[in-house]
């Protein structure tokens, strides 16, 4: 306790990461019936946490990594420590989580005003922030896994927040179950590591892997299994369909989920164990392929949907694919930097969409455009900034990180990854501006607002909005827009900060990274990257923006492809089918048979046997007490005789 007070770093760590938990406990136990107090308490806790995380980032900016740990489990060769590990990566992510969660909670003060589940909402938000922050600073993989699951749990609560709505509760369940599939792999990977290596400390693992202390077979198998966790959490192919459904929750939840917390956890874990993964080239190639497939698939899905939030959801999936690609291509900094900038502009995009949805009570971009979406100046401007950043427009944060990723992909021996990345950039710009133009320049001008329109909008939005505090929502949005504008310019200090402690472990890789960025192909690559983004924007303008544009999209000329994209490449249908065939048809019926025949049958058999034998032997019970007594006495006498002689 004394050391806690004496050491401001530890104090800030403990306080910052655990205050949200206290606020959750207080809300659930005491202040459920007092929504405004709950909201204030939760926002206060997360604001304190954000301040603590920024303090830690500033304080430890040039310090070497700090580790606090205590042995939790120790036997023979196995040592599992619990504690905090504060290095540049965790400090940076902690600050992102703190700031984004804080802004989202302030925004929610406006968005959720008057909702009957207000207190519950803030309790779960606090739980979410607490779990994520503790996951970020975890010192060992087991601790990380525990909080990883907590993050999953909190997101399940929040996605299914409107639980009385069937689709919302289904979406929560889907997210939870699909994450479990990945987590089983993750956990098996950890067990594999415990058996083979006996230590789950993150710095120990990374050190052992980068100094070739681990056999390649152990490394590859465990890296691939742990990567399953990333696939589930960060919605990579083939477990990507839960994320678009996750928008059933309130919009601020989507903003948090898609930027700094839930899905970032997977990429964070990947970069956390980056030296470990990097030591296994096979695992890296598979990760690269998965990231690429994810990015391309989800970009195509985003090109056909009319749902505002769904576009951003698909784009999150594709950007996550991009981060995984960057990391798998060896670009530690590129991946983490894109994670950082993406957290900013994706939160911005979702929060802006939230304002539109709140105002027009629909998710359909065509209806929002027709009803005068462009009259909401602040969110529209901010959303355009976010979309520009997403498309990699020069000067905005997304531009810098996307260039870093493309630079990294260009160092790969095969150029196919780079082309895939460029194709992804074109599609990203196209679908972002398809949305912007739909709202900015609606087909046939703006109609007068009819209240009757609300009733038959295609995506009936059943969230009930009782109150509306515009400024609580607009201010976080503007802060995020400002961040999006400036975040890109700190690329080099950030790179120095992040990689200064990794350099010793990976001198070769780092040199390669620099060669790619500043070497011959740099200028050419930058021009290609920018033009890919501009090409996408131009295509969107040509089809949706210009006067007399068809506003249909070139894909509508190919109905089969449209359908393929619209039905998410039939992935959901495939899951449904295989679930029905293998799980319900195979496993479940087997278990049912086992339950009915063997377990129930066994117990029934024992009952029948007892009853039957009871009937058979009941003749002994003659009802004559004295005969029974006589037999007893005779038996006792016989026993006495037997023992005496």
């Amino acid at each position: 306790m004394g050391s806690l007070i004496a050491d401001p770093v530890l104090l800030a760590t403990v306080l910052g990461t655990n205050l949200p938990f206290l606020s959750m406990a207080a809300i659930l136990l005491f202040t459920r019936s007092n929504p405004s107090l709950s909201g204030k308490m939760s926002v206060g806790a997360i604001a304190a946490a954000a301040v603590c995380s920024i303090f830690l980032l500033a304080k430890l900016y040039s310090a070497s990594p700090i580790q606090y740990h205590t042995l939790w489990l120790s036997s023979d060769r196995l040592n599992i420590a619990f504690g905090y590990y504060l290095d540049p990566l965790s400090l940076l992510t902690l600050a992102i989580v703190g700031v984004v969660a804080c802004l989202v909670q302030i925004y929610s003060l406006g968005y959720m005003a008057g909702d009957p589940g207000y207190s519950r909402y803030y309790a779960f938000q606090s739980l979410f922030a607490w779990a994520m922050m503790n996951m970020v600073i975890a010192g060992s993989m087991l601790q990380l896994f525990v909080f990883w699951e907590m993050v999953g749990l909190a997101s399940y609560f929040l996605i299914g927040f409107y639980y009385e709505k069937w689709s919302a509760s289904q979406a929560g369940k889907k997210a939870f179950v699909m994450n479990r599939v990945g987590d089983v792999g993750f956990f098996l990977g950890l067990i594999w590591l415990v058996i083979g290596f006996g230590n789950l400390g993150i710095p120990e693992l990374n050190h052992a892997a980068s100094s070739n202390a681990l056999p390649q077979s152990l490394l590859t198998v465990s890296a691939l299994l742990i990567f399953c966790g990333v696939v589930g959490k960060s919605a990579q192919f083939p477990l990507l369909t839960w994320l678009p459904d996750a928008m059933e929750g309130p919009t601020p939840v989507s903003a948090l989920l898609h930027s700094a917390t839930m899905v970032a956890a997977g990429v964070y874990m990947f970069s956390r164990l980056f030296p470990f993964f990097a030591a296994s080239p096979d695992a890296m190639v598979i990760a690269l392929a998965i990231g690429t497939v994810t990015m391309l698939l989800s970009s195509t899905m985003a090109m056909v949907t009319y749902d505002l939030k769904q576009v951003w959801a698909y784009s999150t999936v594709s950007q996550l694919g991009m981060m995984v690609m960057a990391l798998a291509a060896g670009g530690y900094f590129a991946g983490v930097f894109h994670l950082t900038t993406h957290a900013g502009f994706k939160a911005l995009l979702f929060l802006c969409s939230g304002i539109f949805i709140h105002e027009f009570h629909t998710n359909d971009m065509r209806i929002i455009g027709k009803q005068g979406g462009r009259k909401l100046k602040i969110p529209l401007v901010c959303m355009t900034i976010g979309a520009l950043a997403l498309s990699g427009f020069p000067g905005l944060s997304g531009f810098f990180s996307k260039e870093a990723i493309l630079g990294q992909l260009a160092t790969q021996p095969s150029k196919i990854w780079l082309y895939a990345g460029l194709l992804g950039a074109v599609m990203t710009a196209y679908y972002s501006f398809r949305l912007i133009f739909h709202i900015l320049l609606p087909k046939g001008g703006i109609e007068e607002k009819h209240h009757a329109e609300h009733a038959h909008s295609s995506h009936e939005h059943e969230e009930e909005h009782h109150g509306y505090i515009f400024w609580a929502m607009a201010i976080p949005v503007m802060i995020l827009a400002g961040l999006t504008l400036v975040l890109g310019w700190i690329e080099h200090p950030l790179e120095h900060f992040l990689t200064s402690h990794v350099v010793q472990a990976h001198p070769v890789q780092h040199v390669a990274e620099h060669a790619a960025e500043h070497g011959g192909g740099g200028g050419w690559l930058m021009i290609t990257g920018i033009s890919a983004g501009l090409l996408g924007i131009f295509a969107a303008w040509f089809e949706y923006g210009r006067k007399g544009a068809s506003r249909k999209g070139f894909l509508s000329y190919f109905p089969a492809i449209w359908k393929l994209f619209d039905y998410r490449w039939f992935l959901d249908m495939f899951y449904r089918r295989s679930l029905d065939t293998f799980v319900y048809g195979g496993l479940t019926s087997l278990f049912t048979k086992n339950d009915r025949r063997i377990i129930d049958g066994g117990i029934d058999g024992i009952c029948l046997l007892t009853e039957g034998s009871g009937r058979v032997f009941s003749f002994l019970q003659s009802g004559m007490l004295q005969y029974n007594l006589l037999i007893m006495v005779l038996a006792a006498g016989a026993a006495v005789l037997y023992f005496l002689y």
Binding site: Q621, G623, Q626
Partner: protein, 102 residues
């Protein structure tokens, strides 16, 4: 005359009489009395062994006292059961109580 076998023989006789009573009497109260005989024969054994075999005179007496208390309790419970049985079938003949026949 004043030796252990004499007491043991008396006690065995008492026990046999009690056993005979409990097996042969059809009257429940008679059976209860026979049980008292059994208990008393055991008491007699205790006292006899205590008198002739152990140096400490208290042990057997304490047990005998306990058995007496037990016998009193048993008589109370037995009598109340008999009373309940009598109320149910207006008889205290053990042969009438055959309802639990298998």
């Amino acid at each position: 005359m004043n030796s252990l076998p004499v007491y043991l023989v008396v006690s065995a006789l008492l026990f046999s009489l009690g056993l005979l009573g409990i097996l042969q009497r059809r009257n429940l109260i008679g059976m209860l009395i026979a049980v008292e005989l059994l208990l008393n024969s055991a008491n007699l054994n205790f006292m006899a062994f205590n008198r002739f075999l152990t140096p400490d005179p208290v042990t057997g007496q304490v047990i005998a006292l306990f058995v007496m208390g037990l016998a009193a309790a048993e008589a109370a419970i037995g009598l109340s059961i008999i009373l309940a049985l009598y109320r149910k079938m207006h008889s205290i003949n053990i042969e009438r109580a055959q309802r639990l026949k298998g």
